[in-house]
């Protein structure tokens, strides 16, 4: 596990060695502010909560997380460092988890830096801070889900642009699958059970319930199994693509 820690630190520092980290954080903060105050109507609603802040996270992540995850493995493959990494005494599991956790920790930092919005809400009114904490937890879990998808896709290609676009589309699908637009399309002909399954795959469905302050075990299990599934697929992808 100390080797995983070493990988984690290298990867995490790597974000700050290039402008990637700063660009990402600035744009993330700018967009969350924009959506919360202008699109979400933070002031106009007259309610002291962060619902308009969290509401847009799935859509922001859909765009921004693939930008973080696209380089995770495709860069290693392109530059040949994958061969270096995989011939060091680390297991594939440690490598996959270490890199994923570093990326996740990085998004956590971006998320923490949104704290001025939380301070604003507390300054203006008396929001339920446990609901806000739940919102942050849900947002972090969702970011992890998107990242795990992106990491796996990134392992499949040497091309970062392809990694970005494909991850974006898959993240989009995971968001959309809970939308009435999609569900209604299936509702017409598919049995209710299938509609429920499709709906239950949505990030939106699970995120919305956590964000309301209801931390349901099922939602937590959903996100953790989703992350585990995509990271496992990530390992398989690296194994399969190593030699090419």
């Amino acid at each position: 596990m100390s080797r995983m820690g070493t990988l984690f630190r290298r990867e995490f520092r790597g974000y700050f060695a290039t402008p990637v980290a700063y660009v990402f954080i600035v744009i993330f903060l700018f967009l969350t502010g924009l959506f919360t105050f202008y699109v979400g109507g933070f002031y106009e609603r007259g309610q002291a909560d962060l619902e308009p802040f969290f509401r847009y996270h799935p859509w922001l992540y859909m765009l921004l997380i693939p930008a973080i995850s696209m380089r995770l493995w495709s860069e290693e493959r392109k530059s040949g460092t994958l061969e270096l990494l995989m011939t060091l005494p680390v297991s594939l599991f440690e490598a996959v988890l270490g890199k994923f956790l570093a990326a996740w920790a990085f998004t956590a930092i971006a998320l923490v830096l949104t704290f001025p919005i939380w301070i604003t809400a507390n300054y203006l009114g008396n929001p339920d801070n446990t609901v806000i904490a739940a919102g942050y937890l849900g947002s972090l879990l969702m970011a992890g889900g998107f990242l795990a998808i992106g990491a796996c896709i990134s392992a499949l290609t040497k091309n970062q642009v392809i990694a970005f676009v494909v991850s974006f589309v898959i993240c989009f699908a995971f968001n959309l699958s809970g939308f009435p637009l999609v569900l209604d399309f299936f509702r017409g002909w598919a049995p209710q059970a299938i509609v429920d399954v499709i709906g239950s795959f949505s990030f939106l469905t699970h995120f919305t319930s956590i964000q309301k302050g209801v931390i349901d075990l099922r939602d937590l299990i959903y996100f953790t199994t989703l992350i585990a599934f995509w990271l496992y697929a990530n390992m398989l992808a690296i194994d399969a693509k190593k030699s090419s």
């Binding site: 080797r3 290298r10 790597g14 060695a17 040949g80 061969e83 011939t87 060091l88």
Partner: protein, 323 residues
């Protein structure tokens, strides 16, 4: 433990393409194996399997007794590997990169500091330590790759074209370095520079189309040359024809090749039958015939010629039946 590296019946196929076909090698401590072969012969693929990067389709690799497939961590921690092209994390500084490698190789405390210092000194990286790797010249990048490979003082060293892209001075340095480490390690060096084999290796293995076609000492390899024990000499142009005819008529001589040195002189290479030594015979014949023979020397053999013969003539018939 006798063999630090034990490769048996290694096979790798990519779909219908057989990249490595039944390669077996045993390498002891103190041996430097020169791994030769044309581009695309399966050298790199074999090395990737030995170091556990890719899984073989068949066969096995044991490093210091640890099976690479079933006990990869133990095997990998005993290997130092310089992959082809010396990949490294470009955004890291040289110092940061070496510290990362030290940490992941579980070097700690005093050993960690000492090993980094020793390797940096040995490979002359002092001046580039704070620089990021992507800003380094090709020679320095290669040296960083080498530093990374020997940092944990591994028993087994696998170097894929360690001198590729280096200038003659750097090549010499790297060879000296490998030579210094050789007595304590088992080393595989892949190359397509034949002079390197003579300069560096105790043994050579030639691979072509995935098959091991020759293993033996560099001297044995040279002995396969038709130029092995040939005598080369310089003679005045006016005498050249007579000398060539006279030497060519000797029963021990197979052939005489001639080339111009300058306007007044020609160089003759006298090739013996079956590699027998003919220096004395040539000298004696020269004396009795009253020829003025200059610059006589015995050839040990032309490696590039042997290399070409071995890698281009062997086994197309076998190839056909296999697919």
């Amino acid at each position: 433990m006798d063999n630090l590296i034990e490769v048996s019946e290694l096979r790798k196929s990519f779909g219908p393409l057989v990249a490595v076909d039944g390669v077996s090698l045993q390498i002891k401590r103190g041996e430097v194996l020169g791994f030769l072969g044309p581009n695309g012969a399966g050298k790199s693929t074999t090395m990737k399997m030995i170091t556990g990067f890719i899984a073989p389709t068949g066969g096995s690799v044991r490093i210091c007794g640890h099976d690479v497939a079933s006990d990869p961590i133990a095997a990998k921690s005993r290997i130092g590997y310089l992959p082809e092209g010396a990949p490294a994390y470009g955004e890291m500084s040289v110092a940061g990169f070496l510290e990362f490698i030290a940490d992941i190789r579980s070097l700690a405390g005093e050993t960690r500091t000492r090993r980094i210092r020793e390797v940096v000194e040995k490979i002359h990286l002092e001046q580039v330590l704070p620089q990021t790797i992507e800003t380094l010249s090709k020679g320095f990048k290669r040296r960083v790759g080498l530093a990374q490979a020997i940092l944990h003082d591994p028993e087994v060293l696998i170097l894929d074209e360690p001198t590729d892209g280096l200038d003659p001075n750097q090549k010499h340095e790297v060879r000296t370095l490998i030579g210094e480490m050789a007595p304590h390690k088992a080393i595989i060096v892949s190359t397509h520079i034949l002079e390197e084999v003579d300069a560096l290796c105790t043994r050579t293995a030639i691979i072509a189309r995935g098959r091991l076609l020759f293993t033996g000492t560099p001297a044995e390899l040279e002995a396969r040359s038709r130029y092995h024990n040939a005598v080369t000499l310089t003679v005045a142009r006016v005498q050249a024809e007579a000398v060539a005819a006279g030497l060519g008529a000797l029963p021990a001589v197979a052939d005489v090749e001639a080339a111009d040195v300058d306007a007044a002189r020609r160089r003759l290479t006298v090739i013996p039958r079956e590699g027998q030594p003919i220096l004395e015979l040539v000298q004696q014949t020269g004396r009795t015939s009253g020829w003025a023979l200059e610059e006589l020397y015995v050839e040990s053999g032309h490696l590039d010629e042997v290399f070409r013969t071995i890698t281009t003539t062997a086994g197309p018939a076998g190839e056909v039946t296999r697919t």
